[in-house]
């Protein structure tokens, strides 16, 4: 059986700085896998390598056994790898409906249709509406994205990734900056994703990590420090020392 997503001895150097140091990480099919680590541990660099924004100095990345180390970003999305961003990356003047429908059209192969009309593609419109409904964006589907409240923009961030119907989803701090009152909405959505989607969650919030993840990888200074089940990691003295500190005492 292939891993859903796998990195082999991945190295990323920026000049003399080693941001990713021989990382071999395996995400099992259907995994609820979290990647944690202190600031500057290289978590986002690793996500950018997996998503194809950065090209690794050394090593390989496999998606379902297929080598995607040098595949462009869009090609990776086409074969089922999607991501969200830590800092919102939305289409400011477009509405959530337009944005999601672009992603859906692209996925079903109509993204380069020059003379087609969305009004004559009801499947795409319906699917987009369903995604927006699921992420509680139906009310604001026609508004400008940059005028949405932050929590809604965060949900849109997730909606765009889901519209590509990923097999593997990289979530880069999905709840970052979301006020406590709206937080549970995002968490519920993440929790309700089907098991066919393998998820790698990058997160700072320990409550979220332990409520969601079954497997946890701890990254320190660009290298894997420890990997294990959520219980093991929570119980590990060294992890407490280097990273968790007080976070699990309470």
């Amino acid at each position: 059986m292939n891993f859903a997503l796998e990195t082999k001895d991945l190295v990323m150097r920026f000049g003399g700085f080693v941001a990713t140091n021989r990382v071999s990480l395996s995400v099992a099919p259907g995994a609820r896998h979290a990647l944690i680590g202190p600031n500057g541990a290289g978590k986002t660099t690793l996500v950018n390598l997996m998503a194809g924004v950065l090209t690794p100095t050394e090593g390989a990345i496999l998606l379902d056994g297929r080598d995607i180390t040098n595949a462009p970003v869009a090609a990776r999305v086409g074969i089922g790898l999607a991501r969200t961003f830590q800092i919102n990356q939305i289409f400011a003047t477009m509405s959530p409906l337009e944005a999601v429908s672009v992603a859906v059209s692209q996925r079903v192969g109509l993204g380069s249709s020059m003379f087609g009309r969305l009004s004559q593609m009801p499947e795409i419109v319906d699917e987009s509406a369903d995604i927006l409904e699921r992420l509680r964006l139906a009310d604001v589907m026609d508004d400008r994205s940059d005028r949405l409240p932050y929590g809604k923009q965060r949900a849109l961030e997730l909606a765009l990734a889901l519209a590509t119907r990923p097999k593997v989803l990289l979530l880069d701090e999905p709840a970052a900056g979301v006020p406590e009152s709206e937080r549970h909405e995002i968490l519920e959505i993440v929790a309700s994703l089907p098991r066919e989607v393998s998820i790698l969650l990058i997160e700072h919030d320990m409550d979220l990590v332990f409520s969601f993840a079954e497997t946890i990888t701890v990254l320190v200074q660009g290298a894997i420090f420890l990997e294990g089940s959520a219980q093991d990691i929570a119980a590990d003295r060294r992890v407490r020392e280097v990273y968790l500190g007080e976070a699990i005492d309470g």
Binding site: A74, F85, Q89, F91, S105, A161
Partner: protein, 333 residues
């Protein structure tokens, strides 16, 4: 829950249907453009020029307003189209529509070949690269004097009747009708294009290229495609000028033409297709009015107005104007 989903779908379908519907101001615009044939019978030459410049600005709007690609060298494609049409007519292919089609194809080929230069880089590098490409074309046209006529221009173009039916006249009536028809045809294509999934994906890559890639849009390929289409339309505009004036000079490739195209978009606004057309009208009217007021200094005032427009922001100027109109209406009723 079920009914909620149904209503979300309904809302989405409604929004999508509304997006492609023709708005009243759009219809009014084209009605006025056609009415101008009868309203200003002595100004057909000027109207013809406005239609051509408007089409050229429209071609820039497609890359700037929709894909976010800045260019200071679009005159290269305008010029390629103009020379193609001119040379064809000289070579005996005097039927304008055929000439237009060939000019469009040649300009598209040149656009495709140079599109790879604008895929990467910042706005500044794109400005420099497009500017340089245009300069290269000026030099080529200058160098091959035996073909292009060099600085003297391409003389002795004689155009046949359009589709074998309509002869060009001195007053420019046929010319304006012809250019307007081509402009409208090209506009329809552009309008359809920008509202298609392809067009929406262009806007996505303009707004956020990182995210556009992350939802699977092949951004480089999109840029190549729209740049090629835009070059082709610019070529058609150039061909129209060559055909309706029966003359081509190095001026068609001039830097000033590229810059004017951008200025017109600044005046009219980019990203909604009418900006180039309205801007072309405003530009021509301002030039006309200013040059009759101060024949020697009209460029100065033109510049001053443009600076004001950019500094204050077109949206605010338009908003103020609209508010003033509202007030007048309010006090009148």
């Amino acid at each position: 829950m079920r009914s909620a989903t149904a209503s979300a779908r309904e809302k989405a379908r409604q929004a999508v249907a509304d997006a492609t519907r023709w708005q009243t101001p759009e219809l009014a615009f084209w009605a006025v453009a056609i009415a101008a044939i009868f309203l200003f019978p002595s100004r057909h030459l000027l109207l013809n020029e406005i239609a051509i410049v408007g089409l050229f600005a429209l071609s820039i709007d497609l890359i700037l307003g929709y894909a976010g690609i800045v260019s200071l060298g679009h005159a290269a494609f305008f010029g390629v189209g103009a020379y193609t049409a001119g040379l064809l007519a000289k070579a005996g292919i005097g039927e304008p529509v055929a000439g237009l089609a060939i000019a469009a194809a040649v300009a598209a080929a040149v656009g495709f070949a140079t599109s790879f230069l604008v895929i990467r880089g910042s706005d500044l590098t794109r400005l420099m690269v497009t500017l340089s490409v245009a300069l290269v074309f000026v030099e080529i046209a200058n160098r091959f004097e035996s073909i292009t006529g060099g600085v003297d221009g391409l003389l002795g173009i004689s155009m046949g009747p359009i589709l074998g039916l309509f002869e060009f006249d001195f007053g420019g009536t046929t010319a304006y009708c012809y250019s307007l028809a081509v402009l409208f045809g090209m506009f329809l294509v552009a309008r359809r294009l920008v509202r298609s999934p392809f067009g929406t994906s262009l806007r996505a890559l303009k707004e956020n290229r990182l995210r556009a890639g992350a939802i699977g849009i092949p951004t480089a390929r999109r840029i190549v495609t729209i740049y090629t289409i835009s070059a082709s339309i610019a070529g058609v505009a150039g061909a129209l000028l060559a055909q309706t004036t029966a003359f081509v000079s190095l001026e068609v490739l001039d830097f000033a033409r590229s810059a004017d195209g951008l200025l017109i978009l600044v005046i009219g606004g980019s990203g909604y297709l009418y900006g180039g057309l309205l801007g072309a009208i405003a530009f021509a009217l301002m030039r006309d009015a200013l040059s009759s007021l101060t024949p020697a200094y009209w460029m100065f005032w033109m510049g001053a107005i443009l600076v004001a427009l950019v500094v204050v922001g077109r949206e605010r100027v338009v908003a103020k104007f609209a508010a003033a109109v509202d007030r007048l209406r309010g006090s009148g009723s």
